[in-house]
């Protein structure tokens, strides 16, 4: 640290240290309060059930949910091993997410960079975006069958529009000065896209990826709901069919964990890609 402070213009001064310390203290406080909220909610729920205020038949019971989860992990679910169901759903959501995101980014950048394309297609995209996309799930099941393809297709549709809209907006918001500067420095259209447009749209795109992995999960699960042979959505549908509310909640928790892990991975990627941003550097 002492060495680098000579060569770097950013002084590692005490002011920075106290700022970091203050941030840490704030983080600890937030964590404590979050735990308190969790304990209050779950404790209240469990106590409510035990006191007879909440009917566990309809609303489940935290201890019952935990028992259910343990049972699933140890003995498997009614439709097969739990890991298999989780994997199937992750696979469908992940594949749909990747395809949808790549398509969204490509289309967003293409339309953002080309005025004519955007004038022609913007109306169709608006219309397509206004359709409740979950309904398409039924068509995909009919067309693509009960396997993974129909769920992936639904996840793609869910993800595409969010990512597209953000990529498009990000391209449009690219700083006019930077674009003028790149042009005068000699950038061709393609170099401009690579050197200026994509980097400046990147923070928009990454923000949309956070939201859209959740949408991909929704797409996969709803698809499984509508018709499937395996997956977390089918597990929920089965639990619902046997009036097993603890099972529904248990499946929900598993899905939430998957979503949180994905979110965490996306944040890692984001920090990796956006190191040039001031706030990203402070987090290092």
């Amino acid at each position: 640290m002492a060495d680098s402070s000579i060569t770097t213009p950013l002084p590692a001064d005490p002011k920075l240290e106290t700022a970091i310390e203050r941030m840490r203290r704030h983080d600890r406080l937030v964590l404590t309060l979050r735990l308190a909220v969790l304990v209050f909610l779950i404790g209240g729920w469990e106590l409510g059930v035990r006191a007879g205020l909440i009917d566990p038949f309809f609303f489940g019971q935290p201890s019952g949910i935990v028992v259910k989860l343990i049972d699933w992990f140890q003995n498997g679910t009614s439709i097969g091993p739990l890991w298999k169901q989780i994997w199937v759903t992750i696979y469908e959501a992940g594949a749909g997410f990747l395809i949808g995101a790549v398509m969204g980014i490509l289309c967003g950048i293409a339309l953002g960079r080309n005025q004519l394309l955007s004038d022609v297609f913007s109306i169709y995209i608006k219309v397509a975006n206004s359709i409740p996309r979950v309904v398409l799930g039924s068509i995909f099941i009919v067309a693509l069958g009960l396997g993974a393809a129909s769920k992936i297709a639904l996840a793609v549709v869910m993800v595409f529009f969010v990512v597209f809209a953000n990529a498009f907006q990000g391209v449009r918001e690219a700083d006019k000065n930077l674009i003028a500067n790149a042009r005068i420095l000699g950038a061709s259209n393609w170099q401009m896209t690579r050197a200026v447009v994509i980097p400046s749209a990147l923070s928009w795109i990454l923000a949309s990826l956070h939201v859209s992995f959740g949408f991909a999960l929704v797409g996969a699960i709803v698809g499984e709901f509508l018709g499937a042979r395996e997956g977390m959505g089918l597990l929920i549908a089965t639990a619902q069919g046997s009036f097993d509310s603890n099972g529904v909640f248990a499946a929900m928790i598993v899905i939430a964990v998957v979503a949180l892990v994905a979110e965490w991975i996306l944040t890692l990627i984001e920090n990796r890609l956006l190191t040039w941003r001031p706030d990203a550097t402070i987090n290092e």
């Binding site: 060569t7 000065n177 500067n181 042009r183 050197a195």
Partner: protein, 266 residues
């Protein structure tokens, strides 16, 4: 200008008009004439919003005039010209690239091999006094340092025509003085024709061979003043020189008239 040595920049009867959002036609430039010799440093001063930046955009090929002709070395401007360099008022360095990447950008865009571009860029980084900061990103630098990056980024392309749009207006007075000195040194070596837009009359006189005063909108050249102060100039002390003060007073009278007219018009 004689036929033997064409002007570096020449604007003849140039007009540039905009349609405002409310549908009115707004004339930024009208019948605008100006000619700058190769290697000459010319400054433009004028009331705010009179169309100074518009002029630079036309020369850079970022916009086209509705009437008249803009030429660089007798060649009509048709799109962005490779011989032009542009230093912007706001930060226009790429925030996601480090200093080296920013300075290398021009040569790389123009197809220079990567290792050659890097050698050149390192040389320019040293010349603008940023040695040791090659790996820093713009947000880690001060405003003055970012301006140095912008200068290196522009000069590395060896521009024969250098356009500057109030480049130092966002800097504090001390930094501005240093940057002005730096610019004069770089210019003395590069020998490019400079068109320097500023609202600061002192800055214009300190730097330029000639100062053109613009009228309020639509902008025309109201008068051109030759600054016959000897070079090299000492930016820090020249402004207290009697000759400097005499010139400043003369141009200031001209400029004030337009500023007052601009105010009355709004």
């Amino acid at each position: 200008m004689t036929a033997a040595s064409p002007s570096a920049i020449e604007l003849k009867h140039v007009a540039r008009r905009f349609v405002t959002p409310s549908g009115e036609l707004l004339s930024a430039l009208e019948d605008f004439d100006l000619s700058i010799a190769p290697g000459e440093f010319c400054a433009i001063v004028g009331p705010t919003g009179c169309g100074k930046s518009t002029t630079l955009g036309l020369i850079a090929g970022l916009a086209r005039p509705q009437a008249g002709e803009v030429t660089l070395f007798d060649k009509k401007v048709d799109g962005v010209d490779r011989r032009v360099g542009f230093v912007f008022q706001q930060d226009a360095v790429f925030p996601w690239r480090d200093v080296l990447g920013n300075v290398m950008a021009g040569p790389l865009f123009r197809g220079v091999a990567k290792d050659k571009a890097e050698v050149e860029a390192r040389d320019w980084i040293v010349r603008v006094g940023l040695k040791g900061f090659e790996g820093h990103h713009p947000h880690q630098l001060s405003g003055g340092m970012r301006k140095r990056v912008a200068l290196a980024q522009t000069f590395i392309n060896n521009p024969q025509v250098l356009l500057m749009d109030e480049p130092f207006s966002a800097l504090d007075v001390q930094t501005r003085e240093l940057m002005q000195e730096e610019l004069l040194q770089l210019w003395a070596q590069a020998k490019s024709a400079v068109l320097f837009v500023t609202h600061d009359l002192d800055e214009a006189i300190l730097l330029a061979d000639r100062v053109a005063v613009l009228t309020t909108r639509p902008a025309r050249v109201k008068s051109v003043h030759t600054i016959d102060l000897p070079r090299p100039r000492d930016v820090a002390t020249l402004r207290y020189d009697e000759r400097f003060i005499a010139i400043a007073r003369k141009i200031n009278d001209d400029l004030r008239e337009e500023v007052l007219r601009a105010r009355a018009g709004h």
